[in-house]
């Protein structure tokens, strides 16, 4: 299954060249590989030999333990193993990662995978092994890569150090859509982070993380992408949950400066203003936003509802006169 070429380096070099020329089908994958020679192996990565059909718990334990979570493969079995399918589903692998206070960040493509290894992050991969009719899905953990030898090193099944040919690996990785992820401790960014992928990964983990972990994760995002409105918005939400109202307000205002129609930031800022006795300002913020384009437009009903709520509570506080005046002015033109 593995090819460990010890002798005959020049010959194997020619063979590799020949193979790479003949493997035109993988051309698009090769272009995404790093150009400089790369050799990395995360030798300290723990190893949990798989039992029966439980490569999911084993792979998960490997990356969680590597990121400092004290778990074992046996302990994770009840969290990801699906008895009737004799295996573990991808979504549940991600869910279990979050339950252990780690952010499951999806890795996209070989170059991304190698970058994560270089940053010290082992990568869970889904492979399809075997040939029809004897095929099986398998989770392994990539821990090393050698660009000169075109080899990948995996913690896989019962093999502590499985060295596999790169093209063979790419063929096994492709059927599952090149699916892979790393487990990030909150506050750590992956290598070459993609803003949308990172924010979505943190947002999906929100219910599992503590509020200070959420703040730490989003703070990294605002530090790394200071012009990204949604990062400031998300940080504001977490600060607000932490009862840090002044800094939450500042974060939402920053999001609105960066993206004037940011629906979430406008809505939540207006709410906070209204609750802290600044209803007029809240209504101004909402009206200005509702007059223009929102991002995303599909959240417009929420802002309209917030405006109705605020206008309603204002009228009860300021008496019937004000409300009647606003109704007379009509709903389209706001002061």
């Amino acid at each position: 299954m593995t090819c460990r070429s010890g002798a005959g380096r020049p010959l194997s070099g020619w063979l590799a060249l020949l193979m790479s020329l003949t493997l035109a089908g993988c051309a698009h994958l090769q272009t995404s590989q790093p150009t400089l020679p790369t050799a990395v192996e995360l030798t300290e990565t723990p190893f949990f030999p798989q039992r029966d059909f439980e490569c999911g718990p084993a792979a998960l334990a490997t990356v969680l333990r590597a990121s400092g979570v004290p778990v074992t493969a046996d302990g994770l079995s009840g969290e990801v193993y699906l008895p009737d399918r004799r295996g573990s589903l991808q979504a549940e692998m991600l869910g279990a990662t979050r339950r252990h206070h780690r952010i499951a960040y999806p890795v996209q493509g070989m170059a991304d995978l190698v970058a994560q290894l270089q940053a010290g992050l082992p990568v869970v991969v889904l492979q399809r092994l075997g040939a029809w009719p004897l095929q099986t899905w398998h989770y392994a953990v990539a821990i090393g890569f050698d660009s000169m030898r075109r080899e990948l090193v995996l913690r896989s099944g019962t093999e502590r150090r499985l060295v596999t040919d790169l093209d063979r690996f790419l063929r096994s990785w492709k059927p599952g859509g090149n699916w892979a992820f790393v487990a990030l401790p909150p506050g750590q960014l992956p290598a070459q982070p993609d803003p949308q992928r990172y924010l979505s990964a943190v947002a999906a983990a929100e219910s599992s993380l503590t509020v200070s972990q959420r703040v730490a994760a989003y703070r990294q995002a605002t530090a790394n992408w200071p012009a990204l409105a949604t990062a400031h918005f998300a940080l504001g939400n977490s600060l607000h949950e932490q009862h840090m109202y002044a800094t939450a307000e500042a974060s939402w205002r920053m999001a609105i400066v960066l993206q004037p129609g940011h629906a979430g930031a406008i809505n939540n800022l207006a709410e906070l203003l209204a609750r802290s006795g600044r209803r007029r300002e809240a209504l101004t913020v909402l009206d200005r936003a509702l007059a223009g384009r929102l991002e995303p437009e599909s959240l417009r009903p929420v802002l309209q509802q917030t405006r109705r709520d605020l206008a309603g509570s204002e009228s009860s506080a300021a008496g019937r006169m004000g409300a009647a005046q606003r109704r007379a002015r009509g709903s389209t033109a706001h002061p």
Partner: protein
């Protein structure tokens, strides 16, 4: 999915749907107030907002599906709690078609090689059916 709904859940869904309809609000029931990070992100990148009622039902449905496939009920509740809205929707629709990584290839691989060798040697005739 509809068939699987119990009477109680149907009634609950109708009540919530009525409530949502009455207030002309597509997003959530009583707390239309705050927009969460996930709402903002999924509204921006998916086609639109998934109704909160449907989301709650999806979570319940996936939990039942896990239990039906041998997961301990207490574990199932925790397992669905950490899934994102989109993951829940995918699982609800396609749980049985999704890859389930098992990786018992050590056994499978040996069997395959033995069969292939026997086949090539002409003892068996599995891989070349002519």
């Amino acid at each position: 999915m509809q068939k699987k709904l119990g009477c109680l859940r149907k009634a609950f869904a109708c009540l919530l749907a009525l409530h949502v309809g009455a207030f002309g609000l597509a997003v959530s029931g009583a707390q239309a107030a705050t927009i969460t990070t996930q709402m903002q992100l999924s509204a921006a990148h998916d086609q639109g907002l998934r109704d909160q009622v449907l989301q709650a039902l999806a979570r319940d449905d996936v939990q039942q599906q896990l239990i039906a496939r041998g997961v301990d009920p207490a574990d199932a509740r925790l397992r669905v709690a950490s899934l994102s809205d989109r993951e829940l929707a995918d699982l609800q629709q396609h749980m049985d078609e999704m890859p389930a990584g098992s990786g018992a290839l050590a056994v499978v691989g040996v069997v395959a090689i033995v069969l292939l060798v026997l086949d090539l040697a002409g003892v068996l005739n599995i891989f070349n059916r002519r």
